[in-house]
């Protein structure tokens, strides 16, 4: 069925269709539509899920940890300040290997307060042990939320689905949905896990681990994250077979013969494709790639995508303080020998429009090494 819905609505619908047991969430712009939609489902008896209307995000993530440890298929959603407030518990969730799925609607962080899209929030928690999958539109947010449950439950790692505030969360578009049955066949009717709080089989969660074991436990988590890439790829493939919508770890557009490539994340990809077409019409060989699978970082795939270009502009939507921004650093670490330039655009919702993207390509062509795009003097 095709529905005209926003990114947030798509995420809420997907979570409901995934037969979640527990949702614990706290409202924050631009995530709010998700919690409001879910409240409607609950009020109208459209879901059997327990919805905990917590009093803060710290409690939201804490309640998710409790629910997930008890074996519940668990979902939450947040943004910006909320993600910051959860920070402590994000590590608890991943350290306990709890397959929680969270939508993070990307928004800038205070101060100054701003409610619009940039990637500072999810980037700030990129090393908290959560898988991070980025989306370009509402359709992908819907699809990725569904896949996230399967990935989380197979890897025992929590998964964060990233969608740009307003640009995706509040934009209405056609979203092709699946039936509940299709989804549950794909991800499994309910969560199967032995690693839970079970009175029949008592286990200890969150024990004190001293120096004699801490490293080994972290190694297990690190390995799980590395290995998750296979699971993610397989899940994307199976989903593609089911729906025809194929998501690679790194998606590229007209990069094969491109001299200059833009590497980006999130909603900017769509606009960049239009610019690539425009510029190619003028005879310029340009292309664009975007990282869908940011954690674990799809480094080999990034390298493959950009290796033949003369220069590559890596565009971050994060203010870097005293170093380079994160997507650039990750790319740099995986792409030795490739000519990379770091760009920063779209902070606090500054529109990433065709001009912004063109400016990046222009600087690449001219070899101008200037990081900030679209910022007044």
């Amino acid at each position: 069925m095709i529905l005209g819905i926003s990114g947030d609505e798509a995420v809420a619908l997907a979570a409901k269709q995934c037969n979640v047991d527990v949702v614990a969430a706290y409202p924050i712009t631009p995530q709010t539509i998700i919690v409001e939609k879910f409240s409607e489902y609950v009020a109208n008896g459209e879901t059997q899920a327990e919805y905990v209307r917590v009093e803060s995000e710290h409690s939201a993530m804490s309640a998710c940890v409790g629910a997930s440890a008890r074996g519940a298929r668990t979902f939450t959603a947040t943004s910006s300040q909320g993600l910051m407030l959860m920070h402590e518990i994000l590590y608890v969730a991943s350290g306990m290997r709890l397959p929680i799925v969270m939508a993070n609607v990307n928004r800038a962080i205070s101060s100054p307060i701003n409610i619009h899209a940039d990637h500072a929030d999810s980037m700030a928690v990129r090393d908290s042990g959560w898988i991070q999958l980025s989306c370009v539109d509402a359709q992908e947010a819907y699809d990725t939320t569904i896949m996230a449950f399967k990935i989380a439950e197979e890897t025992l790692l929590p998964v964060m689905v990233l969608l740009d505030g307003f640009v995706i969360s509040h934009t209405l578009q056609n979203v092709s949905t699946l039936s509940d049955e299709q989804i549950l066949n794909f991800i499994g009717n309910e969560r199967k896990s032995e690693n839970i709080l079970d009175p029949e089989n008592p286990k200890t969660f969150g024990a004190m681990v001293l120096p004699d074991y801490y490293s080994e436990i972290k190694m297990q988590q690190i390995e799980a994250m590395d290995e998750s890439k296979k699971v993610i790829e397989n899940t994307f493939k199976e989903f593609g077979d089911l729906t025809g919508r194929r998501y690679p770890l790194v998606e590229s557009y007209k990069t094969d013969d491109a001299e200059h490539i833009l590497l980006c994340m999130g909603s900017a990809f769509g606009t960049a494709k239009v610019v690539v077409d425009d510029m190619r019409a003028e005879g310029k060989k340009v292309g664009v790639s975007r990282v869908k699978c940011y954690r674990p970082f799809a480094g080999n795939e990034v390298r493959e995508a950009i290796k033949n270009a003369k220069s590559v502009g890596v565009a971050d939507r994060v203010a870097p303080f005293g170093s380079y921004p994160p997507l650039y650093l990750d790319t740099k670490a995986s792409c030795d020998g490739i000519n990379l330039k770091s760009f920063v655009y779209g902070l606090g919702g500054r529109d990433v429009n065709k001009d912004t993207i063109k400016e990046v390509f222009d600087r690449l062509e001219k070899g101008v090494d200037e990081m900030f795009v679209g910022v007044r003097e």
């Binding site: 095709i2 005209g4 712009t29 631009p30 409610i115 619009h116 370009v136 539109d137 740009d164 307003f166 640009v167 995706i168 509040h170 934009t171 209405l172 578009q173 056609n174 909603s267 900017a268 990809f269 769509g270 606009t271 494709k273 239009v274 529109d351 990433v352 429009n353 065709k354």
Partner: protein
């Protein structure tokens, strides 16, 4: 062919919903690409707001704001100076006003309809304010052949089930009939 539409209203008048309704109407008209999105500040009721819609036969990948619209909707006359910005040379401005298109001296095509009057006569009010989005949309099929009146009224009825939808759809039809145009 992609059409870009921009809405200029004040918080509480329903500009954001208007964009969403037009996008739903586009879908009913069989368009593959429809997109509607608001531009939020920290505005409360009464402050100027903008909303955007795109309609295309193909899927839409653009994810930026609209700078050179083909159509602009103006919910109150004083917003004209904002609405005209970037409007394409042969673009249409749809104005909520009691006046006639001839009364405006603007460098664009003009359509006028008294959406406020029609909304009030149909008792479409929230917290005492007229909600004019359903009415003003009635002018659109007069100036854009891609979307028919029935697509818009159907979108309205789907959005507000029951009597509310019927009243809004009725207002939309009235506004359609009352629309005057000047190319």
């Amino acid at each position: 062919m992609m059409y870009e539409i921009r809405f200029h209203g004040r918080g509480g008048q329903g500009a954001v919903t208007a964009a969403a309704l037009l996008c739903r109407a586009g879908f009913l008209a069989g368009k593959k690409g429809v997109q509607a999105f608001p531009l939020f500040g920290a505005e409360r009721r009464g402050a100027p707001v903008k909303a955007f819609a795109r309609i295309d036969d193909e899927e839409i990948v653009l994810a930026s704001q609209i700078y050179e619209p083909d159509y602009v909707f103006v919910f109150e006359e004083w917003l004209i100076e904002y609405a005209i910005e970037g409007l394409k040379k042969d673009g249409w401005m749809i104005i909520n006003t009691k006046k006639k298109p001839e009364d405006f001296d603007l460098d664009c095509k003009i359509a006028t309809t008294d959406a406020t009057g029609i909304a009030l006569s149909n008792n479409l009010k929230v917290a005492g304010f007229p909600v004019i989005n359903s009415s003003i949309l009635g002018a659109f099929p007069k100036v854009c052949e891609e979307i028919k009146l029935e697509h818009i009224t159907q979108a309205i009825k789907n959005y507000w089930p029951g009597d509310i939808g019927k009243n809004n759809a009725h207002a939309c039809e009235q506004a359609f009939n009352a629309t005057e145009v000047k190319e």
